[in-house]
Symmetry: D3
Amino acid sequence: MTSKNKTALVVSAHSADFVWRAGGAIAYHARQGWQVKIVCLSFGERGESAKLWRRPGMTLEQVKIARRDEAQRAADILGAEVEFWDIGDYPMRVTDDTLFRLVDLYRELQPAFVLSHSVKDPYNFDHPLAMHLTQEARVTAQAEGHNPGQKILGAPPVYAFEPHQTEQCEWMPNTFLDITDVWEVKRRAIECMAGQEHLWEYYTRMALQRGVQAKRNIGITASRNIEYAEGYMRLTPEVVETL
Amino acid sequence: MTSKNKTALVVSAHSADFVWRAGGAIAYHARQGWQVKIVCLSFGERGESAKLWRRPGMTLEQVKIARRDEAQRAADILGAEVEFWDIGDYPMRVTDDTLFRLVDLYRELQPAFVLSHSVKDPYNFDHPLAMHLTQEARVTAQAEGHNPGQKILGAPPVYAFEPHQTEQCEWMPNTFLDITDVWEVKRRAIECMAGQEHLWEYYTRMALQRGVQAKRNIGITASRNIEYAEGYMRLTPEVVETL
Amino acid sequence: MTSKNKTALVVSAHSADFVWRAGGAIAYHARQGWQVKIVCLSFGERGESAKLWRRPGMTLEQVKIARRDEAQRAADILGAEVEFWDIGDYPMRVTDDTLFRLVDLYRELQPAFVLSHSVKDPYNFDHPLAMHLTQEARVTAQAEGHNPGQKILGAPPVYAFEPHQTEQCEWMPNTFLDITDVWEVKRRAIECMAGQEHLWEYYTRMALQRGVQAKRNIGITASRNIEYAEGYMRLTPEVVETL
Amino acid sequence: MTSKNKTALVVSAHSADFVWRAGGAIAYHARQGWQVKIVCLSFGERGESAKLWRRPGMTLEQVKIARRDEAQRAADILGAEVEFWDIGDYPMRVTDDTLFRLVDLYRELQPAFVLSHSVKDPYNFDHPLAMHLTQEARVTAQAEGHNPGQKILGAPPVYAFEPHQTEQCEWMPNTFLDITDVWEVKRRAIECMAGQEHLWEYYTRMALQRGVQAKRNIGITASRNIEYAEGYMRLTPEVVETL
Amino acid sequence: MTSKNKTALVVSAHSADFVWRAGGAIAYHARQGWQVKIVCLSFGERGESAKLWRRPGMTLEQVKIARRDEAQRAADILGAEVEFWDIGDYPMRVTDDTLFRLVDLYRELQPAFVLSHSVKDPYNFDHPLAMHLTQEARVTAQAEGHNPGQKILGAPPVYAFEPHQTEQCEWMPNTFLDITDVWEVKRRAIECMAGQEHLWEYYTRMALQRGVQAKRNIGITASRNIEYAEGYMRLTPEVVETL
Amino acid sequence: MTSKNKTALVVSAHSADFVWRAGGAIAYHARQGWQVKIVCLSFGERGESAKLWRRPGMTLEQVKIARRDEAQRAADILGAEVEFWDIGDYPMRVTDDTLFRLVDLYRELQPAFVLSHSVKDPYNFDHPLAMHLTQEARVTAQAEGHNPGQKILGAPPVYAFEPHQTEQCEWMPNTFLDITDVWEVKRRAIECMAGQEHLWEYYTRMALQRGVQAKRNIGITASRNIEYAEGYMRLTPEVVETL
């Protein structure tokens, strides 16, 4: 299987999460020919659109449209496809219909890896719920007796991307991805998020900090220069070709 | 750097530990041309040689000789070099001389990865001490001001191999290595341990259990058949080429 | 903002919990002029009213009335307002209506701090659920797009008060409040709980134990004499004026 | 109370779980005259019947019948009663009706101990849910106000039996049961599971590994020879007659 | 083996620790005919004798004598033997001579269980050190090659008795011992500690609290009435006769 | 006690640590009239002076002088006193003489709070050792029988300042200090560290990130604008005046 045939799945609770937290990984794999599919479960229309709501006369529908537009442009820049499932936020609620829709997507896409939120987050209840859904759908997609006849899912690793306050979320990066080569792409995607301009520099600094840390953790390939990186927490063990 | 130039370091508290716990990884990398160096800090002469002590008239020196012989033959079979540092066991005590000797070895060997014991073990105090030494020597070998002029060490990952009662040791495998192709070599090395015959089947079963688990955790390469595996706990994050 | 304008919110799963676990904090702040609002989600009518049920001829309604009466008198003594939401217990179930009702209360009250149960409790499933509700409502109340136009909530700290068996609940006190000056008030409130007389001494001893521990943890103000204290587990970081 | 009057309850998410994970304990207590009741919440018909689904023309109903038959025969061999509640799997969903049915069973059976799954399992969402149900029903069965007049439940200990990948599930055995004397019975029950033949040897090896570990943890009764054992994680403290 | 031949070992960092924390277990087993041996590593002469130091003209020697006298009388009351090893406190330092002395004692005594301090304690560095010594000596006493010819030790369980601030010490009771029948004995032993009178009531209340909790955790034997209890944290798994 | 009489103690493993990790807190309290005393246990001469070692002809003595000079200038800028104890680094070794020296300093200074490194750090063994020393000396300084006649220490809180890779060090900030007003001072102190210029921007970004997080965690004082902050992990509970 060459990169051209490979696929990845990103499950984002709100429509901007995938940009801040996984934009580098998306751009990096997309550039190598991967098909990357993003699911935005909601637009973050109620809980993560403060700036839009301060405009006079805004309605929920207008906020959603603005957020969708930003996210679509960011996904285009990153080279990924995006779907908007519009299931609501703050609080997010997940039905079995949503679960089975995601199961279908897993089976159709057969992703080689999956990205979503941290398993815990005391500041945000939609994020862990999105991860729970991501994991439960994955397990259901592996079940031979769910829609028998469909091709079942293998065991793609699930990674938790970086939450806002890592230490409070019991999130620990065990995997770093060098995103230096695609940083400029991620930054352009970030700049689509007109409503959250205060976060642009926050996530730029975060990428630089993770870049420094990634460099510190490289073994025999220390010649490589890493400037920007993203941290991930892989949830299940890895089977390696070499230690 | 091809495999031929690559090196690995294994720090074993007692002279049989490297066989049960890392024999597969040693044989696997050796077969690919790696230079694998094993340091046996002690022979396990006091605490892990019960059967030898039950022979009439045994002395500490005789036990050491018997244990050294077994370990040397096992290392030969696995294709690795072994050094015996004879610092004593039950209790093991580590001086700064031992620390600096290991620092020298790190710098000379420049290993691409390092294997040692679990960080905790309520059943065994020599094992965590060996790991502590392994980590402290690694950090000292990175210090520019230690024996200035020598080539300093990079940042090779350290892996904890599997302890006897994993759950009590807070040891969790995040990495599996398929050792099916070298299993027969590991089994022959195991059979050198005449004094601990009761463990032969124990560690054979362990390799089979880890093999089943490894298969469950493979993603896109599910075509591979894994029968035997070893589990490792990587202590620091990994910088990956692809998620 | 002086104490007179300050408010606090206490979310109690059953109608007596707030007395045993937070009665001191309630009385202490009330005495300083704070408006303290208690929400009793249920009366503990099924699961925490054993003594009442042993009276002949009791019905669920009679138990509720008795429990409500006790709790109302306790709240009066402590100087707080109390609301009874009567959502049922053992098992407790939370609907979105309850969530939004609590969101409304957060926004109306704008509490400076919030008290509820421990995050885990293997002996009690209503308690962690009450805390979950408390946290989810807090986050929803911060969402600009929830009932736009209302004043949104700031970031009041949430504290978990003490569960019955702290160590089993992964509850660790990081905050002690000296309640010596209001102890006599708390004791009187405790004595309203006619149905649980066996707990009066239990929680009196607990306050004394926490008093001894609080004294041990005081730094430069050791002149203060603490006899009774309550322990709390603050869930999020504190921003301090001085270390 | 003699063994003849004693009862135990086993809550199994899928119809084979009780065999692999608790078959030894069931047979051991049954042989001593205990009444052991097993509840199979589902047949594992969607998620744990891969081999059956590969037969041509299978329907969900046929899979259930085959699984039920296997489980019934296994229970018969072990000497236990089994009920099939057929609430579905992958994903499992628990209604309050199911909760109250289990509460009724607790009160009727008055079990001296209860067995179910691990509290966490990233590979399986039905397992932790079954344990959650088991614990919540136990607490509800203790509530005096639930169906007043019925005999309420005492405080039987709940044990988590062994999950597939223990370390990933934060499962740690604090209790071992010697099942050497009933091993042959458990093995026969295992062999009823025609659809999962690949697991027969896996759980045989597991029993042998736990046997070796149990022997290591015996104190003054070291004369006993343990060959096969099962590990359990007791969730709440034990009140002992002697340390 | 009847109770008359059974032995237990208690390792106490300072000369009063065994009274507060394990006096009930000591008296309980002694009354049943056990030989209980207490080792006081130090007198707590520097760090736990504040009241004595406030007497005019006290010297280290005088403090030791007073503390020894109190501890001897307490041990007599409890029915146990006590040895004073006088290795110093605040800070305590352990040499290999002390380790081997304890190994000898283990082998001579062959205790059925061992009691010492919690594994962690941020308020006290002597306590965890005493536990470390207790565990390392136990493992060394199991080593066939340590003083070959002596009878080696089996695998007696080690329990951590209760520290002052349990939650800060990551200490969780998984075992309760009913000490109601010997409470009066423990109280008399407590009252020997003239220098720490402020702790008499503290540990009386603690025993009452643990008594209430123990009652809550009893299963089928709920007829028993527990008034006073001690909590213990067993460090290694138990092999049970029945679940 | 006014600020003018208040004192604080900072224990820094290497001579630059106090600048990166606690420079803001030092400057902030110094500006308010506190006497802040810094102890540099070593110069970081072997392990944290890579750039100096790359200059031709450097000796250990020259490196120490250069590092001392940098640290002295940084302390002057921050408004603190600094002592250099020169006990060596990589590996650091602590004797009882060093312990007692620190005990003396505790008693002389009577600090209101103490700052040192994280309790764990797999990348650095000197850092946790410095914290261990800091805690053990604190406890020893509280012992009435250590140098009787001296004024004993109260119970000043100990805070762990931020390590390089927080998540790997199990370090979680529970306390934020706003250092916006003294940021310019901290930055000037940072710029004294000529040998580690690559870290200037790293720790500037870290202060900005912590500033954003601190703002998120403020409750009723949200009017305050925080741009730069430092995070701390308080190790023991706090006794508060108000929740």
